[in-house]
């Protein structure tokens, strides 16, 4: 799979402050790529560079194999975190204007707009002014503006903020559909559960440096500690504990279970799960045995607090 976007050793400084320090990323075509990082890590700087809002001090960016250049703006759709539209302009005119700026002809823009207004069931808004709409409604318009010109690469910065759960779900489905239709999506957010749900690739930027990048599963595999969550019913808890603490590191675990079983998190080290399992089955009734997979949240917190 080729990459739609390659970021090569990009450096961006604001005065003495280094916002991006030789950041290198590769976004595969057709992926939903989570761009993570704490506040002030440099995500917005990177996104702005990809959008050609600002220029990098050094390094280069390839879009679909070509060096990033002004004509590429029409291939990119950008939903900034700070939302805004012209307050006193009518919704329809505004969308047409912004679509034409992305290189669409007026007729084509109108056609696309009608399609999207139908799809999101907002046909009645055409002649309304933005100031007459609620925040969530304005967000929907903004989403439409972002995808109207059928960009190959979509960049969403916190796309769900401001939406109620119903609308957030509609937007999520639309994002997934856009991906099915062939778009690649870069997704910057602090909501880890939506990363978990949507992303297949992630990158983590912290203090201007990229720390992690890769397929979500690969990253998780890298971060897994070979630990297992175990639920066991045993008559002889002390004996059991004695046995396993001899061989493994054991911590109390916390997971939901209907039984009144003993809950443990056991780190295997170099041993295989079967070793543990055979040991456990001798001592009691195992009713829960799951490999502990790190969540994105865990990975995020661990990486950020390590540094």
């Amino acid at each position: 799979m080729s990459n739609i976007l390659e970021v090569n050793k990009v450096v961006k400084r604001y005065g003495d402050y280094v916002a991006l320090n030789e950041v290198t990323l590769a976004v595969p075509k057709g992926s939903i790529y989570g761009l993570l990082g704490p506040n002030g890590a440099g995500k917005t700087s990177l996104i702005r560079i990809i959008n050609q809002i600002t220029l990098p001090d050094s390094g280069q960016i390839l879009l679909d194999g070509e060096k990033l250049q002004p004509k590429h703006v029409q291939y990119i759709g950008y939903l900034p975190e700070e939302r805004g539209l012209y307050n006193t302009m009518k919704v329809g005119e505004q969308c047409l204007y912004l679509a034409q700026m992305k290189g669409l002809s007026k007729a084509e823009a109108k056609k696309q707009l009608e399609y999207w207004f139908d799809r999101l069931e907002i046909q009645g808004w055409w002649n309304k002014k933005i100031q007459e709409l609620s925040k969530g409604m304005a967000q929907k318009i903004q989403f439409v503006v972002c995808v109207l010109h059928k960009p190959k690469l979509l960049i969403f910065d916190e796309p769900f903020s401001g939406f109620d759960p119903v609308n957030a779900n509609i937007i999520k489905d639309e994002i997934l559909k856009l991906r099915e239709d062939g778009a690649t999506i870069i997704f910057s957010t602090h909501r880890m559960e939506s990363v978990e749900e949507l992303c297949d690739h992630i990158a983590l930027i912290h203090k201007s440096n990229k720390l992690i990048e890769g397929k979500l599963n690969d990253v998780k595999r890298k971060f897994k500690t070979n630990s297992y969550e175990v639920g066991i019913l045993s008559d002889n808890v002390e004996g059991l504990m004695y046995d396993i603490t001899q061989k493994f590191t054991v911590r109390p675990a916390n997971f939901k279970s209907l039984n009144d079983s003993l809950k443990l998190e056991i780190q295997l080290g170099n041993a295989s799960p079967n070793d543990l399992l055979s040991l456990l089955t001798k001592r009691g009734q195992v009713n829960h045995f799951v490999e502990k997979i790190p969540t994105v949240n865990d990975i995020f917190i661990q990486t950020v607090s390590d540094k």
Partner: protein, 438 residues
Amino acid sequence: MSIISLIIKREFISKVRNKSFIVMTFLSPLLFVALAGFVGYLSSMKADTKQIAIHDESGLFVKEFTSKNKKDADYKYLDLSLVDLQYLKDSITNESYEGLLYIPKSTNSKELENSIQFISNDSPSISFTQKIQNIIEAKLTKTNLVNANLDTLVINKAQANVNINLTKASGEESVKGLNEIKIGIGGAFGYLIMMFIIIYGNMVMRSVIEEKTSRIVEIIISSVKPFQLMIGKIIGTSLAGLLQFFIWAAIGLLLMFAASAFFGVNVGPTARISPELMDAAQQEMAGTVQMYIKELWNLPIASILIGFVVYFIGGYFLYSSFYAAIGAAVDNQTDSQQFLLPIMMPLILAVYIGFFTVINDPHGTVAVIFSMIPLTSPIVMLMRIPFGVPLWQIAISVTLLFASFFAVVWFAAKIYRIGILMYGKKPSWMELYKWLKY
């Protein structure tokens, strides 16, 4: 290019559709006419004639004030030389005299020169004291000459009365008062440029601030370059300004036609009084008017109009770039004040120089220098053009104006580019300087 025209179109339409634009465009000429009418009405009202009491112990001067052939609409002089001076002084307030002119008894003119008093509650206007002084001086001089046994007839004959005829080097005779017309035309155009720069420059700034506070700017500049956005905004707004100007011009012409029709009717009845007299007067009037019209046509009209367009474009673009950069640097309009002051100053300076220096000496060093400096040249040069400016000066001035326009646009674009993405802090001058280096 098509993107810039798209931006220009949007800016233009959003300005023109704005309610305040419509109100401003159609209401302000009416307001202007109403105001002019009001002022005209006020000034046509006879001011109360002020009474001046004269206590002339010398008896020399009182006739000069009270004699019938010295008409004075504003002041009425009362000869109260026989009334007791102290009583007069006390009665200034009671009798509502504007003041009391006291001339002591003396035959020594040197002594008189400094002993005449004007007593009043409020200090009199400069023009009034000047007038009294002139009358007394003239009389006193005459008396002195008579006392020196000089024949007044000879003196009157010897009195030169110079009336300089203005002739241009090209040989045509000029009408007197033409300079006033030139000043009027130059001043009007210069003032117009200043007004347009301020009004429409502010509009550009407001529009930038609006985009910034509504945060739409990030979406827009992900599609277009900040520079394109800035230029599009400046041009679009200027077109709205020009439209307003043309509407005003059209309304002005209509009103002028309406006014002349209105006054034409008014003139009618007076014509009945004496046709011959009217004819003569009309002919004379027509002659003068023709002369003036001829002179008006002799004015460098082409250079004035072309100058107006060129300097309007240059000056407006130069200042609008400043306004755009300021709009980008601040978050709201109240923060813009500290940056606006340095912009207003050259404009105000230019108008002052125009109205004081250019009028006195259209081709003096000060006028020439300030008609070269780009920040003041649009106004000062426009005021000079009716007086005839050498082409090389205009060439230098225009070149400087447009060169600095490009320089300023370049700087402004840098500040603009950084500024529109900066939120939440009020930048200092130092910070703006740093942005230039990013």
